[in-house]
């Protein structure tokens, strides 16, 4: 039982902060890069759209672990660019998340009905104004549910950074259970892994709850009432 408490403590103190930090950094990076790419893909000229689509396909089609090793091991051994493990992980997973997020935002932008843009333009708004005041606010709200998904995926992907030595939750856990299997016996490995699974699960649940709250707060009144209005 002691082991359980000790392990939990170690996981939370040594591994969890990095995991959280990495998750937030990745989401942020994905957001900052994803939105512009999405806009370019919807409103940009043909070659730009083609480029964005290419970017999306590439970074979604390559497994995360390949990207991570490419940016860490590949860069350092071939080109002598040795990035700190956290940075390589951030770069690789960040580019990936931005590809996914750009797809989310693109979908949201495209679901805002065509008529909204027409109405805005008919009043004399420039394209930029229409995007800023009419399309964007609506697209943002529409993107929250799929984005909640992205949060969950990114959180889980951070575990892969352990492959290059980033000292996040999974790495810390493997250290713990490797030692435990010597000192306490191999049967404890399962227990420790279940513990870390619980920690991830709690974080996912908290994140989903938080985002669910955000969705409620920004919800446009009347949308859920729509069915009752036609009297």
């Amino acid at each position: 039982m002691d082991l359980i408490w000790q392990s939990l403590q170690l996981m939370v103190e040594r591994g969890l902060p990095t995991t959280i930090l990495l998750t937030l950094a990745l989401l942020g990076m994905g957001l900052l890069m994803g939105y512009p790419i999405a806009f370019l893909q919807v409103y940009g000229p043909r070659p730009v759209r083609w480029l964005c689509r290419g970017y999306e396909q590439v970074f979604r089609g390559i497994p995360a672990i390949v990207l991570i090793l490419l940016f860490h091991s590949g860069l350092s051994r071939t080109f002598g660019i040795l990035l700190p493990a956290f940075a390589s992980g951030l770069l690789a997973l960040g580019l990936r998340s931005s590809a996914y997020q750009s797809q989310i935002f693109r979908g949201a932008i495209q679901s805002v009905s065509e008529g909204q843009m027409e109405a805005a333009r008919s009043m004399g708004m420039s394209k930029v104004q229409a995007i800023r005041y009419v399309i964007l606010p609506q697209a943002f709200r529409l993107s929250i549910p799929p984005w909640t998904n992205e949060f969950s995926s990114v959180l889980k992907d951070t575990s892969l950074a352990s492959a290059i030595g980033v000292h996040e939750l999974m790495k810390q856990t493997t250290l713990i259970y490797t030692r435990a299997s010597y000192t306490e016996g191999a049967r404890w490995v399962l227990v420790i892994l279940i513990l870390v699974a619980l920690i991830y699960w709690i974080m996912t649940a908290l994140g989903n709850a938080g985002l669910g709250y955000l969705e409620k707060r920004t919800r446009i009144p009347g949308f859920e009432m729509k069915g009752q209005v036609e009297r």
């Binding site: 009905s113 909204q116 109405a119 333009r121 008919s122 009043m123 004399g124 606010p137 009432m225």
Partner: protein, 257 residues
């Protein structure tokens, strides 16, 4: 009974010259020309697909005509040098599907263009918006979101939104076609009041009752061109073309007088 007021013959607000538009194989607009003077109300009727909506959209350049020119007053809208946003601000457009901004309240919908396009300060824009909402009878719904309003109310808000920019001309693209029958009346009432107040209006609609009450002229379009045009009474009693008569009979059958 003819209850139209006679407007003094005003200057030319809109001139459409020989506009053509083709979509793929479909030559939707075949050399359409028309003139609107200040204070006039004209109604365009015709079978579906004859390019009526396309014509309206070519006027405010939501669709670019392939050939032909459009002038708003002195300003040639079809010229690439013209700042299209500036010109559009002077034309109001009312859509069949309302197209109110779903994330904004009725009040915000009406005041957003004065604020962002005409750069009016918020307080002034709010006052203006409330005035227009009152004009269409919806001042009490200022804080409602579009989804909370009935179709007729939404359309009236969209008219208020168009009015807020003090347009020289308002275009109506089948404003009542998407409404339940009992809601059509409230929108038509607003439109009739507007016409009587001297607004220059060009409307595509089937509502012959409306046309006969306020229209200075009815334009019958078929196959992408204007077949016939004239004052409502003349057109109804003495159509020059067979098709005009046929079409008018069909819609008065359906919609009643």
């Amino acid at each position: 009974m003819d209850t139209r007021e006679h407007h003094a013959l005003g200057d030319i607000v809109l001139r459409v010259e020989n506009v053509h538009k083709t979509y793929g194989e479909n030559h939707v607009l075949r050399g359409v020309s028309l003139i609107m003077r200040r204070g006039e109300t004209k109604v365009i009727i015709g079978p579906s697909g004859t390019g009526k909506s396309t014509l309206l959209r070519c006027i405010n350049q939501l669709t670019t005509p392939d050939e032909g020119k459009v002038w708003l007053g002195d300003c040639e809208m079809t010229s690439p040098k013209e700042d299209i946003n500036c010109a559009r601000a002077r034309i109001g457009f009312v859509f069949q599907s309302f197209n109110l901004f779903t994330h904004l309240t009725a009040l915000s919908n009406v005041r957003i263009a004065p604020m962002k396009v005409s750069k009016m300060p918020k307080a002034e824009a709010t006052q203006l918006a409330m005035m227009e909402l009152e004009r269409v009878g919806l001042a009490d719904k200022a804080d409602a979101y579009p989804a909370e309003l009935s179709g007729g109310q939404q359309q009236r808000v969209s008219i208020a939104r168009a009015l807020a920019m003090s347009p020289q001309l308002i275009l109506f693209d089948e404003p009542t076609s998407a409404l339940d029958p009992e809601l059509i009346g409230e929108v038509l009432t607003v439109m009739i009041d507007l016409a009587r107040d001297g607004m220059t209006m060009l409307a595509v609609t089937h509502e012959m009752g409306f046309a006969r009450v306020v229209a200075d002229e009815i334009i019958f379009m078929e196959g992408g061109s204007i077949l016939e045009q004239g004052p409502p009474d003349e057109l109804v009693r003495n159509p020059k073309h067979v098709r005009t008569g046929e079409f008018l009979n069909k819609i008065t059958e359906l919609y009643g007088e």
